[in-house]
């Protein structure tokens, strides 16, 4: 049976660390090694950053919610906001990284890489909007040997 906990912060950058700390604690239940947990944390932080920065335009006073769903086989994170929705094609466009050129600083930009980082860290990434609630969900399989 799925167990779920939902973590909610205000849309202030300094509160995102609280999500990371809680996520680290929760990932104890996944049995994943520390390097894997760090990748999941990175994906969540990128998604929370996007909610604060893009969905709410950097404005505080709005909710950013992360749902953590756990079964023995799988766990899933959903990052929710009630701000401006993303054009979901952004997610399809975000791809692998081109090689930056040492001699051309214009190729160094790492803006526009948040979604690509998220896709590279998780198995399945989806984005949906419904009744003003935007949800970026990402999940990954857990080895069957792992306790949950």
């Amino acid at each position: 049976m799925t167990r779920t906990i939902s973590l909610s912060i205000d849309s202030r950058p300094e509160c995102i660390e609280l999500l990371s700390c809680a996520l680290y604690g929760l990932c104890q239940l996944t049995g994943l090694p520390a390097t894997e947990v760090a990748r999941i944390d990175l994906a969540m932080v990128e998604a929370a950053n996007n909610a604060v920065e893009h969905a709410y335009g950097g404005e505080s006073g709005h909710p950013v919610v992360v749902e953590f769903h756990l079964t023995p086989e799988r766990f899933c994170l959903v990052v929710l906001d009630r701000g401006a929705a993303m054009d979901s094609r952004q997610l399809d466009l975000a791809g692998t990284f081109g090689d930056p050129d040492f001699s051309d600083p214009d190729t160094w930009s790492i803006r526009g890489r948040g979604l690509a980082i998220i896709k590279s860290c998780m198995d399945v990434v989806e984005y949906h909007t419904r009744d003003g609630l935007n949800a970026l969900s990402m999940s990954r399989a857990l080895g069957s040997a792992h306790p949950a």
Binding site: R12, P13, E14, I16, E17, S20, T35, A38, R39, D41, L42, V45, E46, N49, V52, E53, F97, G98, D99, P100, D101, F102, P105, W108, S109, I110, R111, R113, G114, I117, S120
Partner: protein, 111 residues
């Protein structure tokens, strides 16, 4: 985020400690740009104590490098922990930043 600055023969060495994430970006960007501005443009960033970095933190490194380059300088990275190293490799920025495991070699590169 704690930032410690010293200078060795015209080369700035800055050690960061903590999480380099969106909340810290404005402050860290400003302080590093000021160091590049006032210095030679040759900067070693010691990230030994940076346990976590996100893409907004990475964007600080990139903009500081651009400012250094504008002065014909360079930013090199020292002591990456595995999490930070894997973010840099994921975004392929190891093609831009030289990465060192000891300070002497990093200093030799910038001399």
């Amino acid at each position: 985020m704690v930032l410690t600055h010293r200078t060795v023969e015209n080369i700035d060495i800055v050690a960061l400690a903590g999480r380099l994430v969106m909340a810290d970006v404005p402050q860290v960007r400003q302080r590093l740009l000021a160091i590049v501005e006032q210095g030679s443009g040759k900067l070693i960033l010691d990230l030994a104590e940076v346990g976590f970095m996100d893409s907004s933190g990475l964007s600080v490194l990139v903009s500081v490098f651009k400012a250094a380059r504008a002065k014909s300088g360079e930013v090199v990275l020292l002591h990456l922990n595995p999490t930070v190293r894997s973010l840099i490799e994921l975004t392929r920025l190891q093609q831009v930043f030289s990465i060192f495991d000891d300070e002497a070699t990093a200093l030799a590169r910038l001399h």
